[in-house]
């Protein structure tokens, strides 16, 4: 999993550095945001001179999925320590969340923290290296395929049972249709709509049968 974080960290660090942000911000942003897409969006909006309110709105919309991941994670047994409760959500990302899902319910938060810490370290280090080597790194031509490859085993492990297979199929089709929605809201809308459609179809099927 760190392979994917490394590739994206290098590419994101290089892209952020080329946006003209001050060096201190450039090095702090991977830690302060800990959101690759959010970081790229901020760098682009900064380069365009967008006002703060629109940057804030864009970042909130782009990161709405984290709200959902955190809501799902809040149903898992949470650590008793207040400090761990405060620190753990910082490490929620697609990868750490998906990895934690593979674990037994009681171990998920601990796993989220462990995997998250490893991925975060990789992310921050590679972002800084990417920033430093911005002029020398070739652009990643097929970066779009890396998340799907790296998270393929987790996705395939999750797609089990009729309902989940149906949700995956509908989410894929809707994801293609809604891809162009602004602020990267397409996947979020596609995932939620797929669940609504499949649950409604399932309820109708049960009634008819």
């Amino acid at each position: 999993m760190t392979m994917g974080a490394t590739l994206f960290g290098l590419a994101t660090g290089a892209a952020t550095a080329s946006s003209g942000l001050p060096a201190a911000v450039n090095y702090a942003i991977p830690t302060l945001f800990y959101s690759g897409v959010g970081q790229l969006a901020y760098a682009q909006l900064f380069a365009l001179g967008a006002p703060f309110a629109s940057v804030l709105a864009a970042l909130v919309l782009i990161n709405l999925r984290y709200l959902i991941y955190a809501t799902i994670a809040s149903t898992w047994p949470r650590p008793r320590s207040r400090l761990l409760r405060i620190v753990t959500p910082y490490f929620i990302t697609e990868t750490s969340f998906a990895m934690a899902l593979q674990e037994p319910l009681g171990d998920r938060v601990r796993f989220l923290l462990g995997a998250g810490l490893t991925l975060w370290t990789t992310w921050v280090v590679t972002c800084v290296i990417g920033s430093l080597l911005a002029d020398q790194l070739p652009p990643l031509k097929h970066g779009y395929a890396v998340p799907a490859i790296v998270l393929a085993p987790i996705l395939m492990a999750l797609i089990k049972g009729r309902l989940r297979i149906a949700v995956a199929a509908v989410a894929f089709v809707l994801g293609l249709v809604l891809f162009g929605l602004p602020f990267r809201l397409g996947p979020l809308a596609a995932g939620m709509a797929a669940i609504a459609i499949v649950l409604a179809a399932s309820a109708i099927w049960e009634r008819v049968r």
Partner: protein
Amino acid sequence: MIEFAAVLGLGLVLYAMKALPFVFGKVPQSRLGNQVLDLLPVGLLTALLLPPALIGAVQDPAVEALLAIGAVVAALGISALTGQAALSIAVGLIILAIAETI
């Protein structure tokens, strides 16, 4: 300094979006709610990972697009058939690396 303060403020907002549900969240338990929470990861991850890979590949030249799609399909297929996570990621990334060199 202003840019740093802006990034710090935005970072706090992003953290709050993750922390508030986790620290204080009380999710009402119901059959429908549990079903939705069970299906959300599959729906979100599928929509987040696969369509961008396909759409990104379609915009590339034919050979590179085939290799990029092949890399994703190989990773998914090997995962489904063998359950070997490391093998599926390695094969997928090797095929993608070939596409990068073209």
